[in-house]
Amino acid sequence: MTTSHNPYAPVAMTIAHAVRELPDVFTWTFRPPGGFVFRPGQFNMLYLHGVGEVPISISGDPSDPERLIHTIRSVGTVTRAMEPLGVGDVVGVRGPYGAAWPVDEARGKDVLVLAGGLGLAPLRPAILQVLAHRADYGRVTILYGARTPADLLFRDELERWRGRFDVRLEAIVDRAGRDWFGPVGVVTRLLDGLPVEPDDAVWLCGPEIMMRFAVRELEKRGVPRDAIWISMERSMKCGVGLCGHCQLAGSFVCKDGPVYRFDRIAPYLQVREL
């Protein structure tokens, strides 16, 4: 279900719950009347009247259409203007847009999720969907990298996932003090000693440089490019593949992505002008 028959018309939604995740990251929950159905990896365009519109991944649980959740970093003009808003404030929402993580296609396989920074937010719906049907999947491994221990997103949930016997969760940070007892280094360090098979389903999301680095490390371990899926970020505007703002060679990230099978997008990542 989409918010409107007119893809350009936002629907007014009221913020039902607001949480400060990190100093520059906040999460909003909406309770859309009639629910909001989406697939993991999709995004919405969030509109702040008089300021502008931004594409934001949905970070909620796809099996709970009563709650639409977005996790937002305050980084540009629109998101900075959104930051002070709270419960009861109204924003425009249109969507959902874009391609999804291949969660159903991964049934029967081992799943390796590799997230960096805020990249955990678009992966969270896919993780929740896998965990909701845990018996349908093989090993489930979540590797998560952040800048410092204070920058780890969804801390309580990370602890819950870590506490499960049927999930392996490893977190690593780029730098830390002595109060951090986990590993320190780049996120791909977590691949060392990890059983990775060529037919694993591998989902990556994070800064593009991190994802390129991660793909190289996965390829060294025998994972083919067609087993790797990544979520791309470009300047999405219309959300329906018409305006061309997010064009990546012959592809529109808003419509053909943001989730791509890596072998289909890889040639474009090495074109400097793109």
Binding site: G116, G117, L118, G145, A146, R147, D151, D174, R175, A176, G177, R178, W180, F181, P183, V184, G185, V186, T188, R189, D192, G193, G206, P207, I209, M210, F213
Partner: protein, 149 residues
């Protein structure tokens, strides 16, 4: 000695090394255990040992006068500490055992003697050290980019 030879051959750093070369290294190697908080290396001390970590976590820290050290990387089982052993110099970082660490400690002077005596061994060790150095350099560059900011 047989046991030491077996654990040396099993360490990923020496994977694929000719059995006779592993045998050469046994005489330069001790199996050491470090308790939590013990230092394997300290800033300013001469790096006289190449450590092949078998178990536990080693924290690489930059000491900062007047404040807590900053941890820049951790090493674990299968990793190597002391990659500059080909050109020994004073360590520029502290390396501390965060938990019990078991490592194969290869004496640098002895290692150099063996590498000089058998250039094939010298080449094999040098290439492995170079590979580890490049990997670490690539990781350091990525960290330097601060991509999550």
């Amino acid at each position: 000695m047989d046991d030491l030879e077996r654990v040396l051959a099993a360490h990923p750093f020496l994977a694929g090394l000719a059995p006779e070369h592993v045998g050469f290294l046994v005489g330069c190697t001790k199996n050491l255990r470090f308790r939590t908080g013990e230092y394997l290396m300290r800033e300013g001390e001469r790096e006289d040992t190449l450590y092949l970590i078998r178990q536990g976590m080693v924290v690489i820290e930059v000491p900062r006068p007047g404040s807590e050290p900053s941890c820049i990387e951790t090493l674990g089982a299968g990793d190597v500490l002391g990659v500059s052993c080909l050109t020994p110099r004073a360590a520029h970082l502290d390396c501390r055992a965060r938990e019990t660490v078991i490592a194969l400690a290869i004496d640098n002077v002895c290692l150099h003697r063996k590498m000089d005596a058998d250039p094939r061994l010298g080449y094999a060790i040098s290439m492995r050290l170079l590979e580890r150095t490049y990997d670490r350099l690539a990781r350091a560059r990525l960290q330097h980019l601060d991509v999550y900011r």
